[in-house]
């Protein structure tokens, strides 16, 4: 079986999402670099793999996929064992539904509240030399505080977001939260002890540690 291929850059949050899943299941993979700073994601070659010209793209034999969450699910299914079912698809309808709910929550509630802070404090200054828009940051922090309040209540009742053990729903939070912790606003998590403990638990996972190695913390 030849290793699967991921096309992208390990610094990219969406690439990191895929790499984390590969590391969690212990799959053999090859990371093919795409120099997005040089615009390589828009090259005809890359667009053949991802018609939206984004990273990551993914290849397993003849199969080409894009969209990091779709790629991640494919990987988690392919390498699923009785002991390792991060999507819970073999555990019954209710459990897989909860994974879906909290996966959507990451994409539709958590990410929109958190990502502007990461964009304003890190991504725009680094990539465009732009100044931080503090109004956007402050509005986002307010919104994020509300979201984290919901997470705190959830994690008081449930060890992980979708149930008693870690799932894809939890792992999806890693990439952007990692960068959020490199902004001046990391201490927001101190206001939410359950959330903070949950995050620290994720960071302690060996697979997360391996993926972190290729993600900068200083900019």
């Amino acid at each position: 079986m030849s290793p699967v291929k991921v096309f992208g850059h390990p610094m990219s949050t969406n690439v990191a999402r895929v790499l984390l899943c590969l590391e969690e299941v212990g799959a053999e993979y090859e990371l093919v670099p795409v120099d997005f700073l040089a615009g390589e994601h828009s090259s005809p070659q890359h667009v053949q793999l991802n018609p939206f010209g984004k990273i990551p793209a993914f290849q397993d034999g003849e199969l080409v996929l894009f969209e990091s969450r779709a790629i991640a699910k494919y990987i988690l299914r392919k390498y699923r064992t009785d002991d390792l079912d991060l999507l819970r698809e073999s555990r019954g309808i209710e459990e897989s539904a909860m994974v879906d709910v909290w996966t959507e929550v990451e994409a539709q509630q958590y990410y929109p509240a958190m990502s502007p802070v990461v964009f304003e404090c890190i991504i725009y200054p680094v990539m465009r030399g732009a100044a931080t828009n503090q109004i956007v940051v402050d509005e986002s922090l307010d919104r994020l505080r509300g979201v984290l309040g919901v997470y705190e209540a959830r994690l008081e009742k449930s060890r992980y977001l979708a149930g008693d053990s870690v799932s894809f729903a939890d792992l999806n939070h890693f990439p952007f939260t990692f960068y959020f912790m490199a902004t001046p606003y990391a201490s927001l998590f101190d206001e939410f002890p359950k959330v903070k403990a949950w995050w620290e638990g994720l960071m302690a996972r060996p697979a997360v540690q391996r993926v972190c190695k290729n993600m900068p913390t200083e900019f």
């Binding site: 939206f52 969209e67 790629i71 309808i93 879906d100 979201v147």
Partner: protein, 228 residues
């Protein structure tokens, strides 16, 4: 197996509620739509927050299971009642392609389509003035996105392959509103996207969901008129 009641909480004019209803209709599941009023703040009441702490519609109650996030609800309904719409022939490749185009809907199609819909339909309805700069920016984005759809639908009958799946259906609710704006031309000028849209819109389940939304909108307009 005992038939447990399925309830959907929300307002039928919401494209997110429509997504849930569409899947229930496609799967032929009996359900009750429990109407809520956004204006009355029903979504902010403690009993609703106990169902969805993010205070958004829809919520699906399926026996003991309470779900929120319309895309998660959609997956659950089809996984339970019509899995071929979620996983195709069940092969890893088929399921993956459905997931790909579901993510494309959420992350490439929805943002510009939703923004245009908010500016052109929702904002004026709520007494505001559209921000044309926002519209123009999103029209430019959507053009690029739809070009990819045109290429895809020229090579494949439906987004995830030769059969209709949730990947196609998930586009219906937002597109139904988008096609009421003057920017419908963006779809109409692309023959494969246009044909795909028309087929979606003609499905009985889609007609039913639109009927719910149109009736709810009429009722809302009547109530507004009576208040004046």
């Amino acid at each position: 197996m005992a038939q447990t009641a399925v309830k959907v909480y929300g307002w039928a004019v919401s494209p997110f509620v429509a997504r849930a209803l569409l899947c229930l209709e496609e799967a032929g599941v009996d359900y009750e739509l429990v109407p809520m009023s956004r204006e009355a703040g029903d979504h902010l009441r403690p009993d609703f927050l106990a169902r969805n702490p993010f205070a958004q519609v829809p919520v699906l109650q399926d026996g003991d299971l309470t779900l929120f996030e319309s895309r998660a609800i959609a997956r659950h309904v089809l996984r339970k009642h019509k899995p071929e719409l979620l996983v195709g022939d069940g092969s890893p490749e088929a399921a993956a392609l459905v997931d790909v185009w579901l993510e494309v809907e959420a992350h490439q199609h929805h943002p510009p389509t939703g923004a245009i819909m908010v500016q052109c339909i929702l904002t004026p309805l709520l007494g505001g003035v559209r921000d044309q700069a926002v519209v123009d920016e999103n029209v430019a984005k959507l053009k690029k996105v739809l070009a990819v759809y045109e290429a895809r639908l020229s090579a494949s009958r439906y987004l995830a392959g030769e059969s209709l799946t949730l990947a196609d259906l998930s586009h219906f609710p937002m597109m139904r509103y988008f096609m009421e704006t003057e920017y419908a031309a963006l779809v109409e000028e692309l023959p494969h996207v246009k044909a795909w849209w028309e087929e979606l819109n003609a499905r009985p389940a889609a007609r039913k969901v639109t009927e719910h939304a149109v009736n709810a909108a009429k009722l809302w307009a009547l109530e507004k008129a009576e208040q004046q």
